[in-house]
Symmetry: C2
Subunit: 215 residues, 2 copies
DNA sequence: CTATACATACATTCGTGTATGTATGTATCA
DNA sequence: TGATACATACATACACGAATGTATGTATAG
């Protein structure tokens, strides 16, 4: 029971990441031992130390495997020929939320990152990655809104920074709350409601100095 | 170095909780050892095991110390004689967000609970408490909105469930994002913006079947 | 034959829980 | 009022398991 073919080794690696996902999910990242992961994958710690440096390395590999091919969609939104960037952006957000609610693996990893993982200074660069993911999200939202603005899909006097934060906040809260209390509401339904309300408010309520249309 | 007066003992207990807050914050709950906490408090583990059962017990004591006297304010909102429940509710939310941003201890504990603590099944009843806090929040939001509804401050055909989720989601996301990226926006400012936009949308956009006034 | 892909064995560290030691506060009684 | 007895508030010491990293063994693919 030793060295098999190259593909078998790669398969073992995938198995280990899969097992790590499950163990991280069940016990939390810090209480998950490498032995737990190895046993869950049907191997020993030797296999882990062959493929990875340590637990952090396994964790990062798990995250890396989830790198989304969403960039293309973002590129489409930002393309100057796109006639309806706001519509594409809406579609993208819907797609993102559907991904989270329908792809079990993605959901598991999100749940691990939001609820079963400690972001401390000692645990860097774990927190940095998480933060960077959020900063990237901000950049994407900004680009999308700016494209929509250039296309005349948004009021010219809109407060972009405020709009960015508000959308990001709502998506973050939506995902967090659903991961924490999955049964408390219909995720995809609420996602649509929130996005539509947000876009409506974008059209009517975001003057340069806060709420300018009522209240 | 032994038994001092009752008040001294109580002081030691407070010191230990204070130290635990700092150590939890710096190292994360699971990587914080009881020795770390004891040293940070200038005592030994013996003192901890005298005052608490184990690390979980320390954690719960830390949470317990934060129990807010917000109930009174909620009671005021729900009081049938209150002429402006929606206004009081807005004040309450503003007050809550100000508390988080201005009280360092409260902020630290929130940060520990959101970012530096793993909510797993094995870690119960830690996750249960966190979830229960959210469920309590839902109940409070519902009561406030219902009071406002009875007072005629909201459209009669409003979709209450949707409104509850949307507010809770926004507050959650706001707090989470600010704890994760404190420098990325002005917390109190955005809190007001979000609340005002939300209340405006409440007045105009929440028909029984989603968005009914535009988009 | 040699590097690979693991399994096995070992040493070490770290955290926990508990048992025990100890000095001081406090109540009791004379 | 002072001596005694006991409870309190810790500190210290010990035993144990668990997790880690590494060193080494080993069978097989190429």
């Amino acid at each position: 029971m030793a060295r098999r073919t190259k593909e078998d080794a790669q398969k073992t690696r995938e198995l280990l990441i899969e097992a790590a996902e499950n163990v991280f999910f069940e016990k939390g990242v810090s209480k998950a031992s490498l032995n737990d992961i190895a046993v869950a994958a049907g191997v020993t710690r030797g296999a882990i130390y062959w493929h990875f440096k340590n637990k952090h390395d396994v964790f990062e590999a798990m995250i890396e495997r989830l790198k989304t091919p969403l960039e293309m969609l973002h590129d489409a939104i930002e393309h100057p020929d796109e006639p309806d960037p706001l519509g594409r952006f809406r579609e993208l957000i819907i797609y993102l939320t559907q991904q989270i609610s329908r792809d079990p693996r993605r959901r598991r990893v999100y749940e691990i990152m939001f609820l079963k993982c400690e972001l401390t200074e000692q645990n860097e660069p774990l927190g940095s990655k998480h933060r960077q993911a959020f900063l990237d999200g901000t950049v994407r939202i900004r680009k999308a809104l700016e494209s929509a603005l250039k296309r005349g899909q948004l009021p010219a006097d809109i407060n972009i920074e405020q709009a960015i934060v508000q959308l990001h906040v709502q998506l973050t809260g939506l995902i967090y709350m659903w991961l924490l209390l999955p049964g408390s509401f219909d995720f995809e339904r609420e996602a649509e409601h929130i996005i539509d309300t947000y876009f409506y408010a974008l059209q009517h309520c975001f003057g340069a100095d806060g709420l300018t249309c009522g209240g």
